[in-house]
Symmetry: C2
Amino acid sequence: MSIKNRGGRSKNGPVDTVCGQIIMENLFESSDSVRTTKPLQYAEQVVFDRPHPLEHGGMLAEIVVVYETYGTLDERRDNAVLICHALSGDSHVAAHDAEDDPGWWEIMVGPGKPIDTDRYFVICPNCLGGCRGTTGPDSIDPTSGKRYGMAFPNITIGDIVEVQRMLIDHLGIDRLLAVVGGSLGGLMTLEWSIRFPDRLCGAVPIATGPHLTSQALAFDIVARNAIMSDPRFENGQYHDKGVAPSTGLAIARMLGHITYLSFESMRKKFDADRNSGRSLDTRFETKFSVGSYLAYQGDKFVERFDANSYLTLSMAMDQYDLGATKKALAGSMRRSMCRWLVLSYTTDWLFPAFLSRELVDALLDGDKRLSYCNVECDCGHDAFLLPNSFAVYGKIIKYFLRNLADEYMSGDPAVSASGIRREATLLATLEQEFAAKPERIDYKRIMELIPPGAKVLDLGCGKGGLLARLRLRGHKRVVGIEQDEKYVLRAVGRGLDVIQADLNLGLANFFDKQFDFVVLSKTLQTVLDVEFILDEMLRVGTRCIVSFPNLGYREHRRRLSEEGRAPRADFHKERLWYNTKDVRFLTIADFEEFCTEKGLRIHQRISLDTEAGHSVENDPNLNADTAIMVLSR
Amino acid sequence: MSIKNRGGRSKNGPVDTVCGQIIMENLFESSDSVRTTKPLQYAEQVVFDRPHPLEHGGMLAEIVVVYETYGTLDERRDNAVLICHALSGDSHVAAHDAEDDPGWWEIMVGPGKPIDTDRYFVICPNCLGGCRGTTGPDSIDPTSGKRYGMAFPNITIGDIVEVQRMLIDHLGIDRLLAVVGGSLGGLMTLEWSIRFPDRLCGAVPIATGPHLTSQALAFDIVARNAIMSDPRFENGQYHDKGVAPSTGLAIARMLGHITYLSFESMRKKFDADRNSGRSLDTRFETKFSVGSYLAYQGDKFVERFDANSYLTLSMAMDQYDLGATKKALAGSMRRSMCRWLVLSYTTDWLFPAFLSRELVDALLDGDKRLSYCNVECDCGHDAFLLPNSFAVYGKIIKYFLRNLADEYMSGDPAVSASGIRREATLLATLEQEFAAKPERIDYKRIMELIPPGAKVLDLGCGKGGLLARLRLRGHKRVVGIEQDEKYVLRAVGRGLDVIQADLNLGLANFFDKQFDFVVLSKTLQTVLDVEFILDEMLRVGTRCIVSFPNLGYREHRRRLSEEGRAPRADFHKERLWYNTKDVRFLTIADFEEFCTEKGLRIHQRISLDTEAGHSVENDPNLNADTAIMVLSR
């Protein structure tokens, strides 16, 4: 491949560049009469000067890619993280030094930050079809010498990702440690995972989905209608006429902006001074505070963004669909080979959590390794750019990248010097952590029940105590389900794959007999629909292990019959009848009867006196405070 | 007041009309080159020909009101129901006969339907500012002889309601049985209740709120920006120039239309054939199924609606605010004197349920009589016009109107002949119902604990068994809280005021000591946070009555200590440990200790053996299966 590469003004570009022919004089400073984009001081560019066919037909005679990089590429070239930007983003993801302007993801990228530029080599290109340097509708078509305008071909997310892959090839990187992107960038992340499955170790799609909802699609259509019906759109050739569809584009932006926020964030921003419009020099309504804000956002946007680029990228987004049905989507995702961290935000309604769940379900259907967290945040879609719940999503991304590094980065001592722990280090840390704690007899017995190497799903896994022990013992495929965000975070921090989900909704996303063992350890008593959960466990696991506190334990009996008092829940600890999480109370005899009635086979019974720290053989229903049973149907 | 009244072509107008001067030749058939509205065959009109000052200043030289009526006004003129239409509605709420076109709320209004035109006299006027006959921006200003256009003054919901009141006066109606309206019509309903509190017996605001969310406001602003920045808007005087801002209005409508639907309804409508655009003769994008649909809706709308009317009504809606704070809103609602039925829909995000809850909370703060139901429906804002959950919302409106009729309509025998039951009839029905059932000893004892006339709140009231008994005994103020929609429906059917709410979220909407008694009857054991609920009860009630099953009952003790089995929940009935709704298990001794620890005073203890049907005096913790306690702090 012939590549012309022109170095930008980067201070720390780690890759040698070949200066090529300068094609556009004012690449970074638009000469457009309307837009006044700021120069991207540290951007580099590469020019791929041979014709490039596109997925939906059509051809681009050459492709310029503008990108920025941060940090240093390791000698083994295995620490590269590709960041994909959203609709209105660009290559400037973060500041390069103290004098540089902040980037659009300053919070996430930099030395010591979750995407740590002291450890990782970060690459952020402006995407194909964009308007911040990379070839897009306002670039000059070298075959005609004129701007593409509406003649710019219909591109797909696949085309965008192909161009990113060309850049990665150019940088001499075989396999990316991770691809990370939110919103439109999330679609690119998904596409990377299935288009070039062996070119990335991990994927982090954020606030995105396998397709848009029909609602989000509808908003995009209205936005495009607003742009294209602006009389100054001039059928896309507005540049030639020295005008711009700035009314239509501003309306599109206003509309988009509403979808990036949430009820709650809008309430906080606008309700208090609802009727106090700001006085702005704008053609739009400024009567209400929210109207002034939108007018300002709309007016500002048209100064920095090209209408045709907006149309091109929003159409690429709208056409993206990894599968309309559950089956089709699972089929698409089956090609992926990487480890996954899927993130959504509770109040995002542009890419609602249910879309991320569709993706999670499809990945589970393909038995992929993944963690998922629906991050609690009241800021809507924009949450992934904001500090509000950064303590959670920043940290989980940090942990996930560290897990990838532990697993996939070379053990070369020169590399370890970069501060990245090895898998062995992680395991040693776990070992230390557990050694410092008193042995839990119930974990120990459950471990004994699970043969080495078995695939295990742990329901209500908490911080991952059991799963981490299994990993230490060498199990490759252990997965947890946990509802509590902070436990999910802790478990991912321990190197585990954990899916945030409400057990009470079942395991519909898992296929039959996906695991050798499904474990419900000290959780049965907190589950509302016991029958349903057990049915699901027995479907998904070849065997199930259930442990629960035994109401028949002599101390409970004594307390009720002699003292007339309710048993204290949770193994006599401080929790009482009115504030325990336990909602189901059963004896070993109750459970055995239940199994008989429902036709469940009990393969093994283990009865424990956990306070005394030993097994119970004699009349377990009276003498054991905890029961462990291995079941199948 | 001088009124010129011109009869329309109504077949059954019950009020004599005086033919006045004809002001516009083609009132019902617009001569507008763009709009081709269908004639409203049965509409009548009245002309108020003296100058009418408006709330925000400005004046209308005369006001024409077009309206339709259904059914017969009783001699005592006490069976009138006013229906307020939404943004794009008109006076044609239902068909007048078999040949007539269906109306916009055909499902709701007609003989035998929830708003039963065999019983009620239904009035539906086109609202001020509209474009279907009533004075609005496309009417001729009699002072200039030209259309108002943008010169039409800024009107408020108050102005709209003032004009409706003039119509009601004109029809000789002192007090409406009810005002009913959804969306924008819901705002009018709210305004009626506080502007003319003694002119209505009941209010039914549906899918509405005390103000818009900032999100909904923002969508309206973008829609107005689209209309006003259409070059053919011509600063509002497009009629004079023979053009119309049909692009801007169509975009406004598309946007509005998205907000009327839900994720789920859009998924059902559009996901299956997402990429199959229809071929339409339109200037808009038709690539996707949803795009074709929106283009069609947009194009169709501009044929029947006037852009200035859209601006006028959406601005009236956006400016409406009954109070930005909880306190201000409660202050506004304090003026209302009517009985309330507030309805929201679970997937409505234009007027989300939380807005209805704000209203409900404000009404509760003023100790108003109300029922509230958040109707389960997946169709979004449009739900109130659709059949999907009509079985619930249609029926609850029917019941509520019947309750109003029972309470407020005259006992004149001629009137009862119309089939409306009297309050006495309703009570007799309840009496019969209860007589046919075995006496419930726990109800009986709780009834004995409550002095005649006390104000009672029943938490988890179910179908209202206790509350109906209290009403029978003559209590005027009894209120229930219930989460289950079908029980709410049943309770309203029994003439009760019931608020649909999740007890576990507390009673924040009630003020301190609002009730003489707060009752939690056989519900304590199903509540997750016992302490929180009791705190709330003790705040809201002077006294609280709690009844619960006693785990210390001898049969439970025997079962656990002798058989080693968990007690059967719910008084030995069929529910077992794994499928009961009970999640808290306590003995009388536990509860007494709890009260001591928390500083609660127990005024009375009643212990029952409900199976034997008598009170227990000897060792209740052992011999009673049920305890009833009266508490205060």
